[in-house]
Symmetry: C2
DNA sequence: GTATACATACATCCAAGAACGTATGTATAG
DNA sequence: CTATACATACGTTCTTGGATGTATGTATAC
C-alpha cells in the first residue's frame, strides 16, 4: 500500500480516531499504545505518526471531533429573540442527557473523560481545554438564564452565579453518577424530571432564587 | 541499612503511601513509576516490593487509608435514636465538603480519583470498590432519610430512591466541579447553602418530595 | 544471660519486554 | 518529477518483576 487520494487519507485519519476511541475506552488512555490503535484501525504506526504528532495529539483530535456538535447544540438556546428561552434550555439539557444514554460514541467519550484518562502537568493543555469548555458553557448558560429572566420565566432576584454553578454540578454529577452505575437509575426516562427539578430549584430555593421570592408557605429552614 | 523494628517498618509503609499520594497527584497514577515513589519516600524499590505487591496494591492501600475515616463519619447520622437525624445528616454533608477544601491530603485523594487515575478492566477490583462505596453510602443515606421521615422532618411521600441518587449527583458534582475550577466558587463558604438547597429540594420539589406535598403557591411546571 | 536459629526489612542487581520516536523505503497521486 | 501517504526497520529509553545479598530484630533454648 502506498499513496492514496486526499479523500482516502482523510478517511484513514477518521479511522484512526475511531480506533483510538475504542481502544482508549477498552484499555484506558495510558495503557493504550499507538500500536494497539494502529492494529484496531488496520494501519501501522507509521500512518498514525503521519497524521498526528503523538498519542496526546490523537487524544486531542478525538475530543475536538466530539466537542463541535455538542457546542452547536447550545447555540439555539441563547438567542435573545427566542420567546421561550427556558423551554429551549430545558430541551437542550434533556437532549444532552438522553444523547449520552442513547449514542454509544457520545457515551464512550464521556466515559473516557471521566474514568479512562489522566490529567497531569504533561497534559495541561487538555485540562485547560476542558476548563475553557466549562467556562464557555457557563457564559452561554448565563446569557440564556438572563433571557429567561427578561421574559419573566425566572425570578429577577436569581443568583446567576450560583445558578450556573448548580447547573454544572447537576449535569456533571448526573453523567458521572449514571456512567459509574448505569443500573442505579433510568437516566433516559428520568432525564426530564431531573432537569425540571433543577429549574424548580432556580425558582423556589431561597439560596439560589433570591431571598423572599416565591418562598413556599411552610418556609424552607429547619 | 537493614532490619528495623516493627514500628519503624510500619512507619516506612506509611511513608511509602504518603509518597505515592504526592507522586500520583503530581504525575498521574499511570506515569508514576515505583522508582519515582521510592525516591520520594527516601527508600528503594525493594522496600516498596516488600510492603506491597505492585503499584496497584500501593494505590489500593492509599484509598483504603482514606476510606476508613470517611466511613466512620457517616455512622453518627444513621443512628435511629438520634432525635435530629436530618440535622446530623446536614452537618455530615457540610463537613465532607469543607474537609475537602481544608484538608490537603483529603483533597489530593479526591483529585487523584477524579482526574489522575484510569479505571479499566485491569483495575476492575478498584472500580468495584468505588462502586460498592457508592452503594454502601446510598444504603446509609436511605436509612438516615427514613429516620428523618419518621421524625417528621421530611415528607412521608418522599421518593427515597431519587433522593439518594440526587444526593450522589449533588455531592459528586460539587466536588468534581470545584476541584476542576476551584476559583469558580467558594465551596468552603457556600457549602451550607448547597446542602440546604438539596434539603429544600427533598421537601418541596414535586419530582422528589412526592406529588402534591408542600407544593408552593405558584405551581412548579412551566 | 547469652548463644543460636530464623524471620524480617530492606538494598542491589539483572534480564526482558514494551513503547516510543525517528530514519528510511516505496509506490502512487498530482 | 516530486510531494504525499503511508509501511518497515532500528536504536533507545523506561519500567517491571524477580533473584539475590545482607544486616539486624526477635524468639527460643540452655
Amino acid at each position: 500500500m502506498a499513496r492514496r487520494t486526499k479523500e482516502e487519507a482523510q478517511e484513514t485519519r477518521e479511522q484512526i480516531i475511531d480506533a483510538a476511541e475504542l481502544v482508549f475506552h477498552r484499555k484506558g488512555v495510558a495503557r493504550s499504545s499507538l500500536n494497539d490503535i494502529a492494529q484496531q484501525a488496520g494501519v501501522t504506526r507509521g500512518a498514525i505518526y503521519w497524521h498526528f504528532k503523538n498519542k496526546q495529539d490523537v487524544f486531542a483530535a478525538m475530543l475536538e471531533r466530539h466537542r463541535l456538535p455538542t457546542e452547536a447544540l447550545s447555540q439555539r438556546a441563547e438567542d435573545p429573540s427566542e420567546s421561550d428561552p427556558l423551554g429551549r434550555f430545558r430541551d437542550l439539557l434533556i437532549s444532552v442527557l438522553q444523547r449520552t444514554v442513547r449514542d454509544p460514541g457520545h457515551r464512550r467519550v464521556f466515559e473516557i473523560l471521566f474514568y479512562k484518562c489522566e490529567f497531569t502537568d504533561q497534559t495541561a493543555p487538555l485540562m485547560q481545554r476542558v476548563q475553557e469548555s466549562y467556562l464557555d458553557g457557563g457564559a452561554k448558560v448565563r446569557r440564556t438564564l438572563g433571557n429567561a429572566i427578561e421574559r419573566g420565566q425566572l425570578p429577577a432576584t436569581l443568583n446567576l452565579g450560583r445558578a450556573v454553578t448548580q447547573l454544572h454540578v447537576q449535569m456533571t454529577g448526573l453523567l458521572y453518577t449514571w456512567l459509574l452505575l448505569p443500573g442505579s437509575f433510568d437516566l433516559d426516562r428520568e432525564a426530564a424530571d431531573f432537569v425540571d427539578s433543577y429549574i424548580a430549584t432556580l425558582r423556589y430555593c431561597p439560596t439560589i432564587a433570591g431571598e423572599g421570592a416565591h418562598t413556599p408557605p411552610g418556609g424552607l429552614d429547619p
